[in-house]
């Protein structure tokens, strides 16, 4: 899962990890697909059974290993297949964003959105928007940092 890019500037294409909940957002993504909506190809989607399945360490690890952004998608509050999973996601999301910001990781790199099964268009827009924002920020960290810059020289 090494990522990171050494080509900032115009050529930079971010790598973004998307966690989508099985019941709403993944279906929304599917709908966007079958509706042939245009989307940037920067996202890799991992389906999770509920957005609450996304533990904070998933996000932190992804960013530390050099991915440029993480997007967590869940059902709208009130619509959770498991009644209340996304309420926990919401609390965690709030805290994690603030923590990441506190250590200097731009809040755009970790985002949470609610996308329902019928919101194919919202899925496409969200992906588009997040990709744009992260592209504008530039790379999260270079490959050399993920692999260790100066081995044997500390």
């Amino acid at each position: 899962m090494v990522s990171g890019s050494d080509s900032p500037g115009n050529g930079f294409e971010p790598k973004i990890l998307v966690f989508a909940c099985n019941w709403c957002s993944y279906a929304g993504a599917d709908l966007a697909g079958v509706s042939r909506l245009q989307m940037p190809p920067n996202c890799r989607v991992i389906r999770v059974m509920c957005s609450a399945r996304v533990r904070p360490e998933f996000v932190i690890t992804a960013l530390s290993k050099g991915l440029d952004g993480v997007l967590v998608l869940g059902c709208h509050p009130g619509d959770c297949h498991y009644s209340e999973g996304n309420y926990f996601t919401r609390r965690r999301g709030l805290l994690l964003r603030k923590l990441l910001e506190f250590v200097g990781i731009e809040p755009e790199r970790f985002q949470v959105r609610w996308v329902s099964a019928s919101e194919g268009a919202k899925f496409a827009e969200t992906v588009e928007q997040v990709t744009e924002q992260i592209r504008a920020l530039g790379p999260n960290r270079p490959r050399s940092e993920v692999l260790g810059t100066e081995p044997g020289d500390r």
Binding site: M1, V2, V146, L147, G148, P151, G152, D153, R154
Partner: protein
């Protein structure tokens, strides 16, 4: 052996000369932590220090060290070795206990199967020792291991603070070369002059450790280890700040197609250190791990490598142990046991 002196105000000039040709490394202080680090100028050094937190073994056996990188190209995997050093190095300000620890680590890394990167770092690094101040820190107990903190042995040059000057003992050819970089800054001393400047031997509370090993070995089954393990939190501080500990881990960072294999410090105090995949752990509780550490220092290392005790009395572990386990107390406890009655 040549004895010279250099005035404190000139020392920087000499070191800067050295820094032009070598990588100069010495104690630096940042955020109240003293560490050995490469410096560009002598002004970054803090030579008025007691001792560094992380011992200078880190310069030879680094906390993290790339062994080689690997990259997949089609069907092939290319391995590329990582060079340990760009330039020859000079370490200034190393204390005698830490020099002594390097002599012990040499046994591990330079004998039997030679660890090439350690050896290269040793071979390409000159040591400018710094004699310990009087009085030494109250925790120091190197003399119990027969170490003279004012001795140049093991260093290429030894500096001794004698007020406005440093007394300079040039012990090796490499040392002479370094002095020659700025010969005019040094004044040669006659035997007599040097003797007058030489500070008296350092006194610190001394323990008689001659029976330690025998007494320790009798304690293998003793309840003492259980008791000792109670305050131990199971962190790795004692081993990471220890100048003679040499346990390490080997781990890959990256993916299967692009990454680096690292060697990094590890600690026998960690519970998963010797844990096997099968779930068997030869040292399952803190009791066995604490015991293992003391046995390693005072019984098995000496027996394996034919050395004295693998402790140099720097007391870093004593000062930094968050659970307050103090090696001097442990040694006293062991010595206080009736010989051979453990079990």
């Amino acid at each position: 052996m040549d004895r010279k002196k250099i005035s404190k105000s000139d020392l920087g000039q000499w070191l800067d000369k050295i820094a032009e040709e070598y990588e100069l490394i010495g104690p630096t202080e940042e955020d109240e932590v003293v560490q050995f680090r490469p410096v560009r100028s002598s002004s970054e050094l803090s030579l008025e220090y007691a001792n560094s937190l992380v011992p200078p073994k880190s310069l030879f056996f680094p906390p993290v060290e790339g062994l080689f990188s690997f990259q997949k190209r089609g069907e092939e995997i290319r391995l590329e070795q990582i060079k340990p050093l760009e330039k020859d190095r000079v370490v200034v300000g190393i204390r005698k206990c830490d020099v002594e620890s390097l002599l012990l680590l040499d046994k591990v890394f330079c004998e039997d199967l030679v660890d090439a990167s350690y050896k290269e770092r040793r071979d390409r690094t000159a040591l400018i020792g710094l004699a310990c101040p009087t009085p030494p820190r109250s925790t120091c107990f190197c003399t119990s291991f027969g170490i003279d903190p004012l001795s140049p042995e093991g260093s290429d040059i030894l500096l001794t603070d004698v007020g406005k000057d440093y007394l300079v003992d040039v012990a090796t050819k490499k040392g002479e070369e370094l002095v020659a970089l700025a010969d005019d800054l040094f004044s040669k001393l006659t035997e007599k002059q040097a003797k007058e400047l030489q500070p008296p031997p350092v006194h610190m509370p001394e323990m008689d450790l001659s029976e330690l090993r025998e007494k320790l070995e009798a304690l293998w089954e003793d309840d003492y280890w259980e008791k000792l393990s109670l305050p131990c939190l199971g962190c790795g501080i004692c081993t990471y700040v220890c100048p003679t500990c040499h346990c390490f881990d080997i781990a890959d960072v990256g993916s299967t197609s692009d990454g680096v294999r690292y060697r990094c410090w590890d600690s026998c105090m960690y519970k998963d250190f010797a844990l096997m995949t099968s779930g068997v752990n030869p040292r399952p509780t803190k009791r066995e791990r604490v015991r293992n550490r003391y046995f390693h220092k005072f019984s098995t290392f000496p027996s394996r490598y034919g050395t004295g005790y693998a402790c140099v009395g720097c007391a870093r572990c004593l000062v930094h142990c968050p659970g307050g386990v103090e090696i001097t107390t442990v040694l006293e406890d062991i010595l206080a046991k009736e010989g051979g009655s453990g079990g």
